[in-house]
Amino acid sequence: MDTESLLELSAHKGSAVQLGPFESNLKDDSQVACRGMGPIRMANGQTISGYVHDAFQLQLNSAGLVNATSPTTVTGRLESMDFGWGLPLQGKAKWTMTVVLNSSNGRTLRIASTTEFEGGMNAILFCQNAPGFFMINVQALVRKAITSPEFIALLN
């Protein structure tokens, strides 16, 4: 939950939407390989795009902007995701995601977010900490979308 985004959204009460499903362009929408230490998995059989959907849902819901009877529906698509392992000579580790939001009113918003972090030599610690930075990147993605001047146009 991003506090800045929440404050931003709270100014738009009354612009409620339905949040529809998020689709994915990823080959595997449930896990991602991590430095030969086995995959980083999603919990409880959730998909990566489903996690991104839930992050938007929680943020919009908390601000009172979700209404199941709203005539406007916003859906999403996880266009791409890249996980850089930050191995020596590769620069910092990073998560990069691009999401497209489509409103039933015809408006579209494409948002990308990258979160960099130190890779380090210890693969075990790296793969234990990487999910935390994934979550930070999703939060940054949600913040970037919500604070974009075009976001409110999706809700009307």
Partner: protein, 204 residues
């Protein structure tokens, strides 16, 4: 000779954390006046299990949590910053409760949200990072923020919770948001709170 060297080394290691007692200053992002009271929302997140995204547990133990819940509002009030409303929330209710607090008509102008934001695992040092954000209810803007480390070591939770509250107060004072009634924050018995349990690595 070796015993003396060992003693010196031991003293050096034990004394090292005390060198970094000064808390880091918070980041003031908007002009504001001195504040005389603050509502506080303390958030405990669940973090992912190892190499799993999206599920997990709160790594802060029940004793640590109880200490933070007790000492943060009490130490703030003891040092001249009353806390009329203090609430503790998890992930599901953080957003809605924060907005409810902001929209209360009978409330101080500022809400202090202390949100657990990151679980940092390092060799031998696991810690939670809390992000403290002071929100101006009228403008609905964050006017000051500070990162607060919490080491997951279980021992001395009360003393460490006092030090965390002290860290908040000193940083707010240095940012010109409050005026401490004493040179350093006092504990509930009126004694100066020592920051020896806040390690240099916590602050950086």
């Amino acid at each position: 000779m070796f015993a003396r060297c060992g003693l010196l080394l031991l003293c050096g290691l034990l004394c090292l954390p005390a060198v970094a007692q000064a808390p880091a200053g918070g980041e003031k992002v908007a002009a504001n006046e001195l504040i005389d009271a603050v509502d506080v929302l303390l958030h405990f997140a669940k973090f992912q299990r190892l190499t799993v995204i999206g599920a997990g547990d709160d790594p802060v133990t029940a004793k640590e949590r109880a200490a933070l819940e007790r000492f943060i509002p009490a130490i703030l009030a003891k040092n001249g910053l009353p806390v009329p409303t203090f609430k503790v929330v998890g992930n599901d209710t953080y957003g809605s409760e924060l907005l409810r607090m902001i929209e209360q008509s009978e409330a101080p102008r500022y809400v202090l949200a202390i949100q657990s934001s990151r679980y940092d695992r390092q060799t031998g040092i696991d810690m939670i990072w809390f992000e403290a954000k002071l929100i101006d209810r009228t403008a609905r803007k964050i006017v000051w923020k500070l990162s607060l480390p919490w080491r997951l070591v279980e021992s001395q939770p009360n003393i460490r919770a006092e030090a965390t509250a002290s860290h908040l107060l000193i940083s707010m004072s240095r940012s010109g948001l409050i005026r401490l009634p004493n040179a350093v924050p006092l504990d509930l018995k009126g004694q100066p709170i020592e920051n020896h349990t806040v390690f240099a690595s916590d602050i950086e």
